[in-house]
Every structure is written in C-alpha cells, then in structure tokens.
Amino acid sequence: MKTSGKILAQKISGINESKIFSARSKNLPTWCPGCGYFGIHQGLNNAIQKLKLPHHKIVTVSGIGCAGRYPFFTKTYGLHTAHGRTLPVSTGVKLANPELTVFAVGGDGDGLAIGGGHLPHIARRNVDVNYLLFDNSIYGLTKGQASPSSPQGFKSKTSPTGTSEAPLNATLLTLSYGASFVARLFAGDPEVITEVLIEGIKHKGFSFFHIYSTCLTFDNQFKTWENLNEQVHPLPKSYDCSDLKQAFDMARDDPFSTGIIYKRD
C-alpha cells in the first residue's frame, strides 16, 4: 500500500509545482491519507482552472459518503444533499439557472444503490450536469461494507464469507440509459481526469464520469493501488468514441480501459 500511495503522491506533487490550487477550500479533505479521492480532487480542480470557470458560477452537488463530503473541500457553491439524491437535486439547480456549471459528486453506494433509480432519468433527460461517480466499490464512511460494485466473493463486515451478488458495471449501465457522454477514469491519473473532464464540461448535455478509486482503509483485496495500476490502461488509439456499439463492447469486455467511452452531440 505504501508504494502505491507514493505513486499518487508523486503524480500530485508533480502537478503541485504548477501551483494551480485555487479551487480548493481552506477546509482540508478529511479523506484517509493516500485515498484515491485526492487524485480526483486534483483532476477536477485543474479542469476548473484550465477552463477559467468563475467559482461563483459553479455548484457542486453531492450525496452522502466519503465522496459526498467533496463540496466542503472546494471553493464553489456547495449543496450537500441526502443520501442518493445528488442527481434530482442537480437537475433542479441546472434547470433553475442554466448559466451555472453543475458538478454532481457521489460514491458507488450513493449512485448505484440508494440513488440508482435516478441515473437513468437524468441520462434520458440529458440535463447538462457533470456527474462524477467515485467508484471504490465499498461503503467507506460507514466503515467498510460491500457495495453494489464490489466483486462477487468480496469479504467485508456485512459479507464475512464473501458477497454472493454480481457487481454492477456503472459505465455499461449509463450507456444503456442513453447518456450522451460517458467516460471511464482512474483516480491515479489526475492529468487524464482533467483532460476528459474538460471535454465533458464542454459537452452540452449529461456527462458521466465513472472514476475507479481505492479505499486504502477498508479494501486490501480488490481495488488496491497495486491492482488498479496494473489493470487500468488507456483506450486503444484506434478507438472511436462516437460508435455506440463499440462503446458497449468496450464497457463490458474491457472494464479497465479508460478514456471517453462514448460521446454524442
């Protein structure tokens, strides 16, 4: 764990030198040291800076969980809602004032379990909201229970003999829901996150970012830095993100390929 924590720390310190940190709040993140969420935070910050988005015209809406605390660590308007309700609340914000840039932020429990019923509908309404799903396949803030994206056999406090349920593939689901922008990312690659977020923010319509992350504290079996670093790889150069059929294949058959999986104007 120590080594992989270092990998991310090196990447972040590399970006640190560029001193683009103004979207950070004075509140320091409460995430555990070495958490993948720092990488996502970094990636989003840089996207905001590079696009020169005025902070008072950004609303960060979040649900409950480790990812749900995100608004407190940014310098934007924040709306920390109830568990699972990130997407409908974001819909209200965006429809009320289309000039605002809206980031919806939540974890895999928030977005795929309790709030799973909202994802198809924001996708089919194509509301111009940027949804970052932080997927570490665990309930971290309640201290380590299996989530809907935990792999079968995953041992946790609520599944001592291993989960029997099959995991959900958030990228594949969102493609099926008809989303117009679907990307898969890795918390260990903040530069890629920034790059893809910029594309997604510019996209007029619902943008979905499925971001693999770690939970150093409660998962040493599955989504560890070691495993993810090994598994995650960029999409092939020849990949055409406008081809929905190819996108479905990629989402299902190569679940650790990252980049813009699908984009439709």
């Binding site: 008072h56 950004i58 920390h80 809602t81 309700r85 209200g92 009320a96 004032n97 909202h118």
Partner: protein, 586 residues
C-alpha cells in the same frame, strides 16, 4: 340562511357520462348566477364497473359544504341509483329513464322502489337522444334538458355550458349534444303530469368576470401561476395529478417548465435544487408520495432551503383509498421525518383559500427559508365552487428572498444566528458569498460542526425562525362566537365548511355554540386558540380521520378533554353529522 338551497345528484354507471353531465350542470347553474359547490365520486378503476355520482349543491348564498339530502336525483342507471334512495329529501324529484338501454328487472327499477313522496319524472332519454341525433350517447345531456325544463331554468345557460364543453370536439358533436338537450327540454315541457318546481327562481346574473366556477386543483394552479412559478416537478398520483396536467399546458407559455420526475423523492429533490439556485419551484403529491418526500423535506429544513409542497390527502395508510377523501396526513405533514424538524404547514378550507395559500406559500418559503407544506384533501382538490375571480396584490407578488448585504461579502455567514433566526441567503451566481448548504449539522458559516453547543444553538435558531413565521401566517378566525359558549367547534381543512353550516343551524335552535377555523396547522397560534377554548365549556373537533389528528396536536391547550368526532369513511363530512354530535354534547 339561503332562500335557495338545492342538492342535485346525477347517478350512473361508469361510461354513462355522469361526471360530464355534472360538469355541464354546474357550469350552467353558475352562469345562471347561482352559487355552486360540487363534488364527483367515482371508482378508482377507469374502466371498472362502478358507480359514478356527480353531486352539486346550488344556492343563492355561498355554499361551503355538501348536503346529504338529495332534492333532485337524475338517474342514468337505476341499479346504481337505488343506493341513493335513502338520501332523498322530502318532496324530492327523481328523473329516470323509463325506457332504459339495458334491461332492468321490474323489481330493480328505481320507480318501483321509491316509497317516499318523491315526484317521479320518467322520460325515455335513450330513445329521445337516438331520435334526435341517431346516437344514444347524448342520453346524459338529454336528461339535463329534462332537468332544466322542470326546474324552470332558461335553456340558454345550458346551451352555453354545452358549447364550452364540446366546442373543441367539433361542430358535429356540439350540435348533436345541443339537439339532445333541446329534445329532452321540450319533452318534459310538454308533459303536464307533474308539478314543476318553484324552488328555483334564477337570481340576478352576476358578471362572469366577477365570479368563476373553479376546482380546488385549478385554484391551486392559478395561485402558483400568479406567484410566478418557474418549475414544477411531480410524479403522477391521485388526486394531485390534475395540478401537474394543468401546469404542463400553462407553464411553458409563461416561460416555465413542468418535469415529470421518476418518483416523489426526485420531485422534492429538484424543487430544493431549484429554490437553492434562486427559482420558485413546486411539487404536488398525496400521502404515499408525501411519505417518500419526508427525508428531503427535513433536508430543506436543515439546510434552510425553501420549497413548496402540496399534499392532496387521500384516505388510509399505504395506497389506501386512492379516490376517497380524508384528513389523515396532518401528523405526517407536521412531524414526518428524522430529527427536530419543525416546518410550516398550512391547510386551506375552501377553493378560494387554495388560491390564496398557494400564492402566499412561495413568499413564506423564501422569507423563512424552509419547506412550506399545503395540506388539501381529495374533496377540496376536486370539488368545484363558484368564487370571486381571484387576483394577487403587489405585496403578495413580491420576492420573499432575503439576500446578503454588500458588507457581508468575503466573510459571509450563511447561517448567521440572528434575533429572528432568519439569515440572509446568497444565491449561486452571486460573487463573494460561496457557502455550502448541508444536511449535516453546521456552524453559522456553514462548516460542519457537531459540537454540543453548536447543535443546541442551531436547533434553537431553526425553531425560532419557524415560530417567527406566525406573524405572516393566517390567524385562526372565529365565526358565530360569543364571549361565553356552551360549546366551541374547532375545524380545519375541508371539514370547516360543514362545521360552519352545522353551527349556523344551531342558531335556529338558540344553542350557544361558536366556531374557530384553524388554517395555520404548524406553527399554530397557540394563544388565540387557547383564548377561544377558555371561553367554551366544551370543545368539539370534527375531523375526517380515525385518530383525531388536530385534536392530538392542539388538545394540550385545553384544560379539559376535547370531544372528538372522527370519521374515517372516505366521504366528506356533512353538516348534519356535526350537528347531531353538537346536539348530543350539549
């Protein structure tokens, strides 16, 4: 007491055009200058085999309750109408089809069952309609012709109402219906074997601009539109759906939008998001949907975000009785949800107040930065009343938001603990006031703070604010009261109209009874209520629920035990039921 007070029921099987005929009847009577209150009863199934009743009460004074005595029964289906016989008033008129389309056994025929002094007026509605238009579909309208004739109502009022109803369906259908009406009218006019009614003399016709015939639902829609509603989020549920349907037509042309959400949780979520971003939004639901909303309602309370939620109550827990009326969501509206979560709950008692309270609730929600719940019920939402055409004053239209001062910039405390508990609220887009709204306990700055002192302080702030709102909420209103009373009746919601009529009737018997109307359910004006209670030897609270939910809420203000009249019947409270209870209490 009104000189004209007549209750008309049209009763038929679903598919007979019962409710449509009732609508035309109400429209015509309103155009003729009568005061109308009307309510339909129909089965929950669209194509179910069920009884439909269009119930109208008309008079020369404002009517606020239904009557359980029928003066005129128009039967479109004898088998269904049999059930109405026990409710016939003395010397009632019964209009029936003496050549019905469906074979009715002799012993099932309506005429064979009426043993009272009712006047029976048989007319071959089916034959007349078929002869006039080649179709039996105008049978219900033909019956209205017969009704207009024996009641002495000039046909032009009905002609106009029929035009209004059918104009959109094309000239052919309109003319067929007018013809059915006229044939029915002349058929009865030519019959001389019964005594025409003298009870209805058409009053001086009021200008149509001054008086309108409108349902509770449409009155709510008018209130919301006048409040400059921008976004409506909802999920279909009886009996609140007509609100969303009307707004779907009317809101886009005013630059607004209706979004049918995936459930009620999403609906209230989007309403909160919209108000947070500075736009007026609303949702309307009924008990089961309201139950789903409670968590996010408390989020609005905690994060101090305005919202307007209309709960059109229906009967029973769970899915209950979807097309029946009840006042049983009071407790869930006032107390539902986690934690100490005081919120504002208003309950209109009539169609006019549906407009006024809807209009007002947006401003209140903005000023006090908290969800406002409007409690109506199936009866109030669906009944139509002739009311004075409502209009909003400039004060009622004003923005209720309290924006931060320039001086608060850069060091903004979103949840500043003020004397009133009200803090200024910045809207995203405003520079220099970034803050987080959260459902977690937070400091004045909006940062997380779970310390004992802070939770106590902020709980107090939020509650102080709610009680502060009392100055802007409608005060209880006394009616027919005196300095000392043998019995005081306290009523809320749609039951108030029946209570008013009951108390009016006690005056004829020289009983010392007074009435108090409560429309601010929470917070409530405890002092005003207590002062009324202290002047009464006994207190009676009639409610359309089993538990006596208002009595549970305010009972502690009275030193004695409150007398309850709790009806869980799914039908509106009638004045007679309350009157009987008053008489047994005194």
């Amino acid at each position: 007491m009104p000189k004209v007070d007549i209750t008309i029921e049209i009763c038929g099987m679903s598919g007979n055009g019962t409710i449509a005929a009732g609508g035309i009847l109400n429209q015509a009577m309103s155009r003729a200058g009568f005061s109308v209150i009307a309510f339909d009863s129909y089965p929950a199934e669209i194509r179910g085999f069920g009884r439909c009743i269009a119930h109208s009460r008309i008079g020369d004074e404002v009517m606020q309750a239904l009557s359980d005595k029928i003066n005129v029964l128009i039967s479109l289906d004898d088998q269904q109408s049999l059930s109405r016989i026990p409710f016939l008033a003395e010397k009632a008129f019964v209009l029936f089809d003496n050549k019905p389309p469906v074979y009715v056994e002799e012993n099932r025929s309506l005429a064979a069952h009426i043993k009272t002094d009712a006047q029976l007026i048989g007319m071959p509605m089916t034959d007349i309609s078929a002869g006039a238009t080649g179709s039996t579909r105008g049978r219900n309208i033909c019956a209205l012709g017969g009704f207009a004739s024996f009641m002495g109502i000039p046909p032009e009022f009905f002609h106009k109402a029929i035009e209004k109803k059918f104009i959109a369906k094309g000239k052919k259908i309109l003319e067929a219906n007018l013809k059915s009406f006229d044939e029915g009218y002349f058929h009865v006019k030519e019959k001389k074997d019964f005594q025409p009614s003298s009870a209805l003399s058409v009053p001086k016709k009021a200008s149509e601009k001054e008086t309108i015939l409108i349902s509770g639902n449409d009155s709510i829609v008018r209130g919301a539109l006048d409040a400059d509603l921008k976004l409506f989020f909802g999920y279909p549920i009886t009996p609140a759906t007509p609100i969303m349907e009307s707004l779907a037509k009317l809101l886009p042309e005013r630059g607004g939008k209706v979004v049918q959400m995936e459930d009620e949780i999403a609906s209230i979520g989007a309403v909160l998001g919209s108000f947070y971003a500075g736009k007026r939004a609303m949702t309307a639901t009924s008990g089961p949907g309201f139950a789903l909303m409670t968590e996010l309602i408390t989020h609005g309370i905690m994060a101090e975000i305005p919202a307007v939620i209309l709960n059109a109550q229906r009967a029973g827990p769970s899915t209950g009785l979807p097309t029946k009326t009840e006042q049983s969501d009071l407790q869930s509206a006032v107390f539902g949800g986690p934690g100490d979560s005081a919120r504002i709950v208003l309950a209109p008692t009539n169609v006019m107040e549906c407009y006024e309270f809807t209009l007002k609730s947006f401003q209140i929600a903005e000023r006090y930065q908290t969800p406002v719940i409007i409690l109506t019920d199936f009866f109030l939402n669906n009944r139509v009343e002739s009311i004075k055409n409502p209009a909003a004053s400039p004060e009622e239209l004003a923005d209720g938001n309290i924006y931060p001062e320039e001086s608060e910039k850069e060091n903004y405390s979103r949840y500043r603990d003020t004397k009133s508990g009200i803090s200024s609220r910045a809207v995203p887009g405003a520079e220099g006031y970034l803050y987080n709204a959260t459902g977690l306990e937070h400091s004045e700055k909006g940062d997380l703070d779970f310390s004992p002192e802070n939770h106590m302080k902020m709980s107090e702030k939020r509650h102080r604010k709610i009680y502060e709102a009392l100055v802007d909420l409608p005060v209880p209103v006394e009616a027919l009261s005196s300095p000392k009373m043998d019995l005081g009746v306290i009523a809320w919601g749609s039951t108030y109209g029946a209570a008013l009529e009951a108390v009016q009737k006690t005056k004829r018997r020289k009983l010392n009874v007074g009435l108090l109307k409560i429309t601010s359910i929470f917070p409530y004006h405890a002092n005003v209520i207590q002062q009324f209670m202290e002047r009464c030897d006994k207190i009676l609270i009639p409610e359309l629920n089993y538990e006596g939910q208002l009595a549970n809420l305010i009972g502690h203000l009275y030193k004695k035990r409150i007398i309850r009249l709790n009806r869980a019947t799914g039908i509106p409270m009638s004045a007679n039921v309350i009157l009987e209870k008053i008489e047994t209490c005194i």
